[in-house]
Symmetry: C2
Subunit: 239 residues, 2 copies
């Protein structure tokens, strides 16, 4: 937790905020903060700045007082990520990374090689997703929560919703066959689709191509999704 | 496991190899291979090719027969990675990624912010390290095992051993303060030093600089080591 992210609901008055349990524990156990210590804070979907730790109030709740909020969050990555739903433990790490790297629009999509049970995972509950995405922001010192959508049907998404999503974006499909080298250092906005373990099937690849996606590959090596994502994002937008 | 890597010790004769337990289980449970099926194989530190699954022999041991071994392993990444020892569960994932990405020389180094207990982790036992590095190769379809050294003392390493290690290499220190942008798309060999959670301390940074390392940063976002490593490698050698 490299920044404490505050929900406006945590405000007590114009300056003071009450920390939630996770934040209070972090201050107690990891940072071992003392009243008066300065802390980096940010408002979710807002500015970042500094606060003073006030310690626990009469009811045993930790409070902080904002000193200033004058800093902009880092620039978002101009990329929409469409990700075939990975297995739950990989999903968690991958979403945290995606959020930390500054992706602000994420679509979790079904694919023939996604096991049905993955859609039942508790990781996909709204509260859990929100917490994972927040943890990514806390890691990276960002405040803007990514939007996340779940699309449990491949074809209606690709045929009906994707065309609008693609407008103005370079559309890339991570798929190693008959593919170009992945471009480096894009200046334009993009949408990137990353398949499941085992890849997209033939039908799916044909649908992506029909929609206007161009296959790109990463080289000879086969990487896990959780590694391929940072590798691809870093290649597309290294700056 | 995208390739079965064979140790010469597993050879029964010129063509036949006996699989180890982990490989046999993978064929049985994940691939559900039948005798006669073709499999991708490689010799550790050697060529890659194809084999035929022979099923279990009279003693219940799975065997394969090599059909050809004519393919070169993918090119190594021309980078030596010096990594402050991460916490054990992060070490495991990070080493697997490093191995999958093609790094062939890894030095695990002590640093002021590395907890002493990390050096006692069972992950650091030779057998476990070897298995993790092999898993990275099996993921990426590579055969060449990285060399890994452990340096439990920072100063003697940086003062005495590093100068020889650096010869002919661009020397980069991942350190966000007073740093240049991380270069993109290097053509030369490099050595990259990545610090612990919380970063190198001031003394350490001064020793790296004395040795001739140049600080580079990745942008405003703070990433976990397991994310920063693929991001950095992908930026230095995107091709």
């Amino acid at each position: 937790m490299n920044i404490i992210l505050l929900d406006p609901k945590q405000a007590i008055d114009a300056q003071r905020y009450q920390l939630d349990l996770r934040q209070a524990e972090h201050l107690n156990k990891v940072i071992k903060a003392e009243p008066g210590d300065k802390l980096r804070v940010g408002i979710i979907n807002g500015l970042m700045g500094e606060a003073k730790y006030l310690g626990e109030n009469g009811e045993g709740k930790a409070e902080i007082e904002v000193i200033h909020l004058t800093q902009q969050a880092p620039k978002p990555l101009p990329l929409t990520l469409v990700l075939a739903l990975p297995r739950p433990n990989m999903l968690k790490r991958t979403l945290l990374n995606i959020s930390a790297m500054g992706v602000k629009r994420i679509i979790l999509l079904n694919s023939a090689k996604v096991e049905k049970s993955y859609w039942q995972s508790p990781v996909l509950k709204a509260d859990n997703l929100q917490r994972i995405l927040l943890e990514g922001l806390e890691q990276a010192r960002d405040t803007y929560l990514p939007e996340l959508q779940m699309m449990t049907r491949f074809r209606p998404y690709v045929e009906d919703l994707l065309p609008r999503e693609m407008v103005g974006k370079l559309a890339l499909l991570a798929h190693p066959y008959q593919a170009d080298d992945c471009p480096i250092n894009l200046t334009q906005e993009s949408i990137l689709a990353i398949g499941p373990e085992g890849g997209w099937n033939e039908f799916e690849v044909s649908k992506w191509h029909e929609a206007g996606f161009k296959s790109v590959h990463l080289g000879e090596r086969i990487l896990k999704v959780e590694t391929a994502v940072p590798v691809l994002l870093s290649r597309l937008y290294p700056a």
